[in-house]
């Protein structure tokens, strides 16, 4: 029943999983359940190394329910309900697709699946079912309903796993199924077009929702949705370069989210606060944590000279090469808006003035929190400097799914014929300029004075009262809701839709329940009536 096969694609995703799990092993957490984490790990291995659809499905389901029990320790009932309905639903659409594939091709084994004789309608049905599964797992709108609550309410350790690894299983399955199994010639272009736009709309909407969030983990959750949205968009281009871009972004996003979630977890661990309106001013208390967070958000925003830029660059290039101008414009819009939530994250936690009088008394962050963060930071900086270093691995994957590798011009250079850049020069130039200005500046430094206290600021010519809130974290991003388009995005929510569906089923249930409380006599009436109806139908 279980059939496995070592593939380049599986190796990459499993490698990421191992790194994330091993580094998270160091992080202190009171909700650590060895059984469930091992099950989850095994199920992920099962997914990444499966060689038939049934094994994949088994892994998928075990992942689903073991995550459920991990979340269940901290999340509230409604969140759990959302989680399970969407994830089991997604798994069932996967099973439906698998059954359809079996009906069409007569096999479950990847290598035996041949779609050349399958009618295109059936392939379309299979595609749509599979896409639903992937959309649920990756949180593509409008199937993202479960994501944010689950990410934010699960314990801090598991949020990182959810965002860094579990959201990537959707990406993995997309690559596996649409690049390797149902190859591109059997896919319908309009569907791919829709997928691309769904991905990018998701990222735009999620970005603005993130900007509007007051809770650090919810912000990261929305950001996760947005980032996976890019990956889905870029994957739906179905080209060699786009696959490389997607793989690159997957790697980057895994480490960015690992870093950021653990960073926030560390802050929550010491401060017990998780809202921006009750955090702030921790910069000089936890400088190392701050620097790591900055590394994370620079990569998240995709700015040079760190690794995030490399993957963003590939995404843009891939879209440009295919002449997807509008799509690229939309990606850029979302990408540009991402600066705002990145800044909110760093400002809300570290910058500005402390909002909590107890800030001074916060304990030190245990060193164990730095293991995954430093791992992430090292990888991100490395990938910024020598962006070409992991390209050979991607080329191997491309080769194994039957695509021509297009990148690789040495470790420092990343890019295709369309455009390329030299990561070493970029980071070197930046570093050099930075150091030169710094040296020049330090010569002037002896003429600086320190402020007297935290209220010694330029405040319209007065000294602010001590009880005035000098932290702007609560209001950041409020301007956005005054802008017509963005206001429209922010005021809408899929909550009402899903709520209506849930109410509908509840009402239906109420009606059918009434049937099951019939008295014996009415039951007899039903039986005789049924008999008579069938008799009448038979006679006719």
């Amino acid at each position: 029943m279980f059939n496995f096969e070592i593939t380049a694609l599986g190796n990459m995703f499993f490698g990421l999983t191992v790194l994330v799990f091993v580094s998270l092993f160091f992080v202190p957490n009171k909700h650590r359940s060895v059984t469930l984490y091992s099950l989850l790990f095994a199920s992920l291995a099962c997914i990444f190394y499966a060689s038939d659809l049934i094994t994949l499905f088994i892994g998928w389901e075990i992942m689903g329910w073991s995550s459920y029990f991990l979340i269940a320790k901290t999340a509230d009932k409604q969140t759990l309900q959302k989680y399970i309905v969407f994830n089991i639903g997604g798994a069932f659409t996967l099973l439906g697709a698998i059954i359809l594939i079996y009906g069409a091709c007569g096999s479950f084994v990847y290598s035996e699946l041949d779609f050349s004789a399958v009618p295109s309608g059936q392939v379309t049905a299979i595609t749509i079912l599979l896409l639903l599964t992937l959309f649920v797992k990756s949180g593509i709108m409008p199937f993202h309903y479960w994501v944010v609550d689950s990410y934010s309410q699960s314990n801090d350790l598991f949020s990182a796993v959810l965002s860094a690894i579990i959201s990537k299983t959707g990406v993995f399955a997309f690559i596996l199924i649409f690049f390797q199994i149902i190859t591109v010639q059997y896919l319908q272009t309009p569907i791919l077009e829709v997928v691309a736009w769904l991905g990018v709309l998701t990222s735009i909407i999620a970005t603005f929702k993130a900007i509007n969030e007051d809770e650090a983990k919810r912000l990261l959750a929305y950001s996760s949705i947005a980032q996976v949205g890019y990956i889905v968009t870029i994957l739906s281009i179905m080209g060699s370069l786009s696959l490389e871009a997607a793989l690159y972004h997957t790697v980057i996003h895994t480490f960015v989210k690992l870093l950021l979630f653990i960073n926030v977890a560390a802050i929550i661990y010491v401060s017990k606060q998780h809202r921006f309106s009750t955090l702030g001013g921790l910069l000089y208390k936890y400088p190392l944590n701050f620097i790591l967070l900055v590394v994370g958000i620079i990569s998240l925003a995709g700015m040079p000279p760190l690794g995030g830029f490399s993957s963003k660059f590939l995404i843009y290039t891939a879209l440009l090469e295919e002449h997807k101008g509008l799509l690229l414009a939309a990606v850029l819009f979302s990408s540009a808006s991402a600066f705002l939530y990145c800044y909110k994250l760093v400002y809300g936690i570290y910058l500005g003035q402390p909002t909590n009088p107890k800030t001074e008394a916060y304990p030190r962050i245990p060193l164990r929190f730095y293991v995954p963060q430093i791992l992430g930071a090292v990888i991100l900086i490395t990938l910024g400097t020598i962006p070409g270093v992991i390209v050979p691995m991607f080329n191997g994957i491309l080769g194994s799914v039957g695509f021509e590798p297009v990148l690789y011009r040495g470790v420092f250079v990343l890019g295709s014929d369309f455009a390329s850049f030299n990561g070493g020069v970029v980071i070197g130039a930046f570093g050099l300029i930075f150091v030169l200005i710094l040296l020049f500046f330090v010569r002037l430094k002896n003429r600086s004075v320190k402020p007297k206290d935290r209220l010694d600021i330029s405040y319209c010519g007065e000294v602010p009262r001590a009880d005035v809130n000098l932290h702007y974290g609560y209001g950041m991003g409020r301007e956005l809701s005054r802008i017509g388009l963005i206001k429209m995005i922010l005021s809408r929510s899929s909550h009402a839709l899903w709520q209506r569906v849930s109410t509908l089923f509840g009402d239906l249930s109420g009606i059918t329940q009434k049937l099951y409380t019939l008295s014996a006599q009415n039951m007899g009436l039903v039986i005789f009536a049924f008999f008579t109806i069938l008799l009448y139908m038979g006679v006719k």
Binding site: Q513, Y516, T517, S519, Q521, G524, L525, F528
Partner: protein, 128 residues
């Protein structure tokens, strides 16, 4: 006239109509009476109508009852089919047993709840 009455088909018709009437009476009783006793009795009547129909349908004019008595070793063409008789006998026994059991339940239920009206049995159902 008497010839007609004595024909098997005619008798079968009479039995069919009669048992159908009884069946209907029983059915109406089951569905309309509120007293638990009456409902079970009505069920018994419905059952009886079936017995009557079955036995009546196998009765043929001029044949003896299928009783193995002295000197008769074998069921043959002079007797009516013995199987229905055996079946109905068994069924009647079962029916009596079921009726007895049900009446026991009704009596016990009445002792505990003081209620014998089927519409007032509200112990079961969805909790709110």
């Amino acid at each position: 006239m008497l010839e007609t009455l004595n024909q098997t088909t005619f008798l079968h018709t009479v039995v069919a109509i009669g048992s159908f009437t009884i069946f209907t009476i029983g059915l109406v009783g089951v569905l309309s009476k509120k007293n638990l006793f009456k409902i079970f009795l009505s069920l018994s009547i419905v059952e009886s109508s079936l017995f009557l129909f079955f036995i009546g349908s196998h009765f043929e004019v001029g044949k003896a009852a299928p009783i193995v008595a002295d000197g008769i070793k074998l069921f043959d063409g002079h007797m009516v089919d013995p199987v229905p008789q055996a079946m109905i006998l068994t069924t009647i026994v079962i029916g009596v047993a079921v009726l007895a059991l049900s009446l026991t339940f009704v009596v016990n239920y009445y002792r505990l709840s003081g209620n014998i009206d089927i519409d007032k049995m509200d112990e079961l159902g969805e909790v709110q």
